[in-house]
């Protein structure tokens, strides 16, 4: 009898244990109701956003990483910014920016703009800010963003101490006018001016940069309210804001989350309003959970694998056929859908969509999956050197799964041996890449600095460009980019760059794989949540519903 009662307990225990696990995986399926897009809006309503602790003080040229960057972008506004929908440039503080030769620019400011402390935004606010940020002694991560401006070398010399504190290319004419001289023509320089490094700074900043980095004073749509370290940063709408994108809500709370899963749970119970990114665990089911409130759109970022063209066996004439063949052997559709949970979009060009100058299908047939043609091309090109490739990558960035999948695809479809070559962290792999010691292939990628195709082309494939990891050098490509840079309008530049992109499709220095996507969602408390190509929501457009 005793034995029987013991057994009963075991059965009961197992039953309870199973019930507990079932609870965990069940979750809530009744939360998938779509949002009602026409609710009454509370213009003073505040919403919360999933964020993290900024890694650097909140100063314009220090906003490299996302956590601080997205906050600085709300606190400040530059001469120009990008239309979140099209990537087109629009004037903000600038009334007009004039140039005849793409080398000498005259900037005219609108009057009436003020910083959050009430002081006016003048030409000096911009010039002083840029000079201060360019000086390496001020420890700004993005201090090299001013390298186009004449006199940068004196302020930010490659060796030794700076010999000047001001760049000679910047001259204040009066309160609302200043001139910028560049060392050489850059037609899309105005595009660069939208980047956070080029924001103005109030006079008080220069007396106490550290204090202003902790309690920033800007000229953007939101003003700073509080920063509780590791907990939250709160901004409130600035009522005297002069720009075109005045906030339609009362403010934002950037709430600090360590684990994406926790933020997702909060979103599901409407405790958190807008998600930054859906965590990998919830990625397969977030569209079912959120229904209409799920966000899924491409970002201005691309993932490539590049060839080590500095190795002669990969650069020999005719090898471009092998490179194209390998690209055609990769089944991008299947890999993005399965291994990457639909969180990437197969690439059909070297430039990401949503970027000015993006032209669908520039990569042509080379980016289409075609195993038969792939084999043929590899054979025509004299085969893969050693009949084996390795793909170098850093194993701390979640790349292993897709690198293995790409290798499987190549191996199955062409018979070429393909192996992932993981390095423990980004720095180790980066060192090998910059020292040009990669045997055959490496993972490369590009996230836009500004939404113009030049940024994806010249800065990645131009001879000697800092991010040209492949060591690609084509006189034809360089000639076309030079022509494009010398064009007088940005539209013309973008068009000429498309011709340069066609050269890449022919030479295939890198295989475009896929574009990054924003996978996010929002709560039932807010509406009109849209994301830009940087992967950030258009904060000023978010509408908080009346309760």
């Amino acid at each position: 009898m005793r034995g029987a009662s013991q057994a009963k307990w075991v059965v009961a225990a197992v039953a309870v244990a199973l019930a507990a696990t079932a609870c965990g995986s069940g979750g809530s399926s009744d939360n998938s109701a779509g949002s009602n897009d026409s609710s009454a809006v509370d213009p003073n309503g505040v919403f919360s956003y999933q964020s993290g602790e900024p890694q650097r003080p909140l100063q314009p040229a220090n906003a490299m990483e996302n956590q601080g960057g997205r906050i600085v972008k709300q606190l400040f506004m530059g001469l120009v910014d990008y239309d979140p929908a099209t990537g087109a440039l629009r004037n903000q503080v600038a009334d007009k920016i004039e140039t005849t030769d793409a080398k000498h620019y005259t900037v005219t400011l609108k009057s009436g703009w003020t910083f959050h402390d009430g002081t006016p935004v003048t030409s000096k606010s911009f010039v002083d800010s840029w000079n201060w940020s360019a000086n390496p002694a001020n420890n700004q991560i993005n201090s090299d963003w001013f390298s186009d401006i004449a006199g940068y070398d004196a302020v930010h010399p490659e060796k030794g101490d700076p010999t000047a504190k001001e760049m000679s290319g910047l001259k204040v004419v009066d309160e609302t006018h200043f001139t910028i001289d560049l060392t050489s023509p850059v037609s899309y320089f105005t595009y660069k001016l939208g980047y956070s490094s080029f924001y103005p700074l109030p006079e008080g900043f220069f007396k106490d940069p550290a204090g202003y980095g902790e309690k920033p004073v800007g000229n953007g749509p939101y003003k700073f309210k509080s920063w509780e370290h590791n907990k939250a940063i709160t901004l409130e709408a600035y009522d005297k804001y002069q720009g075109t994108n005045k906030a339609k809500n009362g403010g934002i709370i950037f709430r600090n989350y360590t684990a994406g899963e926790a933020a997702y749970k909060d979103l599901m119970s409407d405790t958190l309003d807008v998600l930054d990114q859906v965590d990998p665990t919830d990625l397969p089911k977030y569209k079912d959970d959120l229904g209409k409130r799920a966000v899924d759109q491409p970002q201005g970022a691309i993932q490539n694998i590049s060839f080590a063209l500095y190795n002669q066996e990969w650069n020999a004439p005719g090898k471009e056929k092998v490179r194209q063949g390998l690209s055609m052997a990769i089944d991008r559709e299947t890999i993005t859908k399965t291994v990457l949970n639909g969180n990437r979009q197969p690439a059909d060009a070297f430039v990401a969509p949503g970027v000015m100058g993006y032209k669908a299908g520039t990569c042509g047939d080379a980016c289409k999956f075609d195993p038969a043609k792939a084999k043929q091309l590899i054979q025509d090109g004299g085969g893969v050197p050693g009949n084996k490739i390795t793909i170098l990558y850093n194993s701390d960035g979640g790349h292993k799964e897709w690198v293995d999948a790409v290798c499987n695809s190549i191996r199955q479809n062409t018979g070429v041996e393909c192996l992932g070559d993981p390095k423990p962290d980004f720095k180790t792999s980066r060192d090998l890449v910059t020292k040009k010691q990669v045997p055959s292939m490496m993972r490369t990628g590009w996230v836009q600095d500004y939404p113009l195709n030049a940024n994806f082309l010249r800065d990645v494939y131009g001879t000697g460009a800092a991010a040209n990891d492949a060591g690609y050098s084509s006189p034809e490509f360089d000639k076309l980019t030079k022509e494009a840079d010398a064009a007088t309008s940005v539209e013309k530049t973008a068009e000429l760059y498309q011709q340069a992109e066609a050269v890449l499709a022919k030479d295939m220095p890198a295989i475009p794989l896929w574009y990054y996507k924003t996978s996010s969602g929002y709560s039932k408390n807010v509406q009109n949540v849209k994301f830009d190509s940087f992967g950030n929501p258009v904060y000023t457009d978010v509408e908080v519903k009346k309760k």
Partner: protein, 309 residues
């Protein structure tokens, strides 16, 4: 007694120096360059990289960095975080009160419930309550903490809506109850089992029989004689557990988004913030050492036969 305490306190000094040195050098040999990492996936500008490294004194020999760090520590200067250049002491004092509240709450739950349940089931061993306790504690021990956390979060936060799924204000103690229950549940099971076994053993001891025979009331027999003597193994466990609760709550803090020591330590390790990691560990070492000392002293209180000379 006084000499014993003094000796133990003196022993703490070499342990403290040794552990901080070990952590300082271990953080240093972690792969990756924390300064270059500030540029993310982009190539750093060499001029600015060198300037930043100089500011953070990474260009000095490692041993010099360590000596400066220890020198600062003696004067109460824990150094600065790498990215924001905030005093590490500020980071510690922000996270500490949260963790202390969470740990004490969990600790209280496991002592009150654990000892209580253990006592009752020890006295009624073989009965239904005892068997129920055995099954429940077995369950708690075998369910991993993250699973329990997610179950509680989904049931109480999402389905029932009694609380928000994560902690909204880490300084609000009422919001910390749910994470504290999760955090304390595993230890609760151990405490209950330890108490039960100890009680069940001691109840047959001679001194208990004597106490009953001389006509003491049942409450006094159990309270002063039985429970007090049975608590020695439990106290040993609780002592080390307090240290674990303070530093090892990384998983629970992550699930419930509690901004405590575990969370701060996790972030610091991720960013290779040498001074921050060392600062936290130095503090945790002190907690462990102090808890160990208190446990040793409690032995003497609980068992009159133990004396420290």
């Amino acid at each position: 007694m006084g000499r014993f305490v003094a000796r133990r306190l003196l022993q703490m000094i070499p342990v403290f120096i040794g552990t901080t040195a070990l952590i300082f050098f271990m953080v240093h040999v972690l792969p990756g360059d924390p300064v270059a990492a500030m540029w993310g996936d982009k190539a750093p500008d060499p001029v600015q990289l060198a300037a930043l490294k100089h500011q953070m004194r990474f260009d000095e020999p490692l041993i010099q960095q360590y000596l400066d760090y220890m020198g600062g520590l003696v004067t109460g200067d824990f150094g600065k975080t790498l990215g924001n250049q905030r005093p590490v002491l500020d980071v510690i004092t922000e996270a500490l009160p949260v963790t202390i509240r969470l740990a004490l709450l969990a600790f209280a739950i496991e002592i009150v419930l654990g000892v209580g349940i253990g006592l009752v089931s020890g006295l009624r061993r073989g009965k239904l309550f005892d068997k129920g306790t055995l099954v429940m504690t077995l369950l708690l021990i075998s369910i991993p903490v993250p699973v329990l956390g997610f179950v509680f979060q989904t049931v109480f936060g999402q389905n029932l809506g009694w609380v928000t799924p994560t902690v909204q204000d880490s300084n609000d103690i009422s919001q910390l109850v749910l994470p504290a229950v999760v955090l304390g549940s595993l230890s609760l099971a151990y405490v209950a089992r330890l108490t039960r076994t100890s009680i069940a053993e001691n109840i047959k001891a001679d001194y208990v029989r004597t106490a009953v025979a001389k006509g003491l009331p049942r409450r006094k027999v159990i309270g002063t004689h039985l429970l007090r003597n049975s608590l020695i193994p439990v106290v040993t466990f609780l002592g080390t557990d307090l240290g674990a609760l303070m530093g090892g709550a990384i998983v629970t803090e992550g699930i419930f988004n509690v901004k405590g020591v575990g969370n701060a330590l996790f972030m610091a390790i991720n960013h290779k913030e040498g001074p921050t990691v060392s600062g936290f560990v130095a503090f945790l070492v002190l907690v462990y050492l102090a808890a160990g000392l208190i446990v040793d002293l409690l032995y003497a209180v609980l068992d009159p036969r133990i004396r420290y000379a």
